[in-house]
């Protein structure tokens, strides 16, 4: 192969694979600092000066200021306990014990982290509002239609994400794969 076409081929492959890898990896839980705990993803270091390059890139691309670790820790779920991608048209139960924290919030969002439902509807549950049951720590139903009990509307969006944020929590520094988090189970799907 002659030099010029070869060089062009190499440059083309380099640009496509390099930028493609970046586009695919940033924001998908890549990076050494990301923990997978069941369906939940956490990047504790993202809220500190030691954030890894992937976490920094995610922050810049989203155009946000991440939750500082001394403030709180965010956990994002894109799938249920069985590994199936979350779908707002289905009904889910988020139940189990939440790690110790001063309080926590649970939010339903879309894949771009915009709220799943419009303002005026319930976008978030705080632990202060939860109706507790005798046996189970926390039990929230995420569904498109209204339910009795702790109902978080999902707006029927196809690209549902759940974000659990723990505030003022000792877990921020001790979190590991063994940390117990609420389970996300699918109840029904139309």
């Amino acid at each position: 192969m002659r030099v010029l076409p070869g060089l062009l081929l190499a440059l083309g492959i380099g640009a496509v694979t390099g930028l493609g890898l970046t586009a695919l990896s940033v924001g998908r839980g890549t990076g050494a600092g990301t923990l997978r705990i069941g369906p939940w993803l956490a990047t504790p270091k993202a809220g500190t000066p030691e954030a890894d390059p992937y976490a920094r890139a995610v922050t810049a691309r989203l155009g946000t200021l991440p939750l500082a670790l001394a403030d709180g820790l965010a956990l994002v779920a894109e799938a249920d306990a069985e590994g199936a991608t979350l779908d707002g048209r289905c009904t889910y139960r988020v139940a189990g014990s939440v790690p110790p924290a001063r309080f926590w919030t649970l939010t339903a969002t879309r894949a771009d982290f915009a709220p799943a439902v419009a303002e005026g509807q319930r976008q978030v549950f705080t632990s202060y509002e939860i109706v507790r049951q005798a046996e189970i720590g926390t039990d929230i139903v995420v569904a498109p239609q209204a339910r009795a009990g702790n109902w978080l509307p999902s707006g029927g969006v196809a690209d549902l994400r759940l974000i659990l944020r723990l505030y003022d929590t000792p877990v921020a520094t001790t979190i590991s794969a063994a940390t117990v988090l609420p389970a996300i189970t699918r109840v029904s799907c139309p």
């Binding site: 380099g14 500190t48 200021l65 001394a70 003022d168």
Partner: protein, 202 residues
């Protein structure tokens, strides 16, 4: 094949000749990937700095109203937020937040959105949460006395001259939000200190 290089043989040789270029391209791809991930925080056109530059003034506190999540994606909708884009060139910055009924936190970020410090209302000794943001040089000038908490003054060193302060307060129910927002707007502060106002460390 060597006896009579047919069409297939020629194509095979061609592919073999291109192989080093393909390998070089893949290696280049890895380098491009690493470089682009590192460059993203500097090059992202729609980062927090760009978004906030449109709605805020330097060293002035801006309350992000109900639709705050539109300005800062991934913000918790349970919170009311006030933001201050700071520039420490003229002097140290005084940040004050009111202690709201449930939870208030002040978080500090560099210009590229790296969180370098945060405190919440547990650190408050009065009805307000006060802290001072200084550069490394200003910190040295300020005082040699290490006991900065003696006067209840919390001093944080910013790694960059410019950055952001985020004051966030929890509204436990959506109906509390307007009240909390009002309290933030009325009692929060973000201003550059004149030399006479520099925090006492005695």
């Amino acid at each position: 094949m060597s006896r009579r290089p047919g069409r297939l043989g020629l194509a095979f040789r061609r592919v073999l000749g291109a192989l080093p270029w393909v390998v070089a391209g893949l290696l280049l791809g890895v380098a491009v990937h690493i470089l682009s991930v590192f460059a993203l925080p500097r090059l992202a056109p729609d980062d927090a700095r760009a978004r906030l530059a449109e709605v805020t003034a330097v060293n002035r506190l801006t309350t992000l109203s109900g639709g705050g999540s539109l300005v800062l994606p991934l913000a918790d909708p349970a919170f009311e937020t006030a933001v201050c884009r700071y520039d420490l060139t003229a002097g140290p910055l005084h940040v004050r937040a009111p202690v709201t009924p449930h939870y208030t936190a002040i978080a500090l970020y560099t210009a590229t959105g790296l969180a370098f410090g945060a405190i919440n209302d547990r650190a408050a000794t009065r009805r307000t949460l006060d802290l001072f943001v200084v550069t490394q040089a200003q910190r040295r000038e300020l005082a040699t006395d290490e006991e900065e908490t003696a006067a209840d003054n919390l001093i944080l060193v910013s790694p960059t001259t410019e950055g952001f302060v985020l004051i966030r307060a929890l509204a436990v129910q959506p109906s509390f939000a307007p009240l909390i927002r009002e309290q933030l707007a009325a009692q929060s502060l973000c201003e550059i200190l004149t030399p006479e106002q520099a925090p006492a460390t005695q």
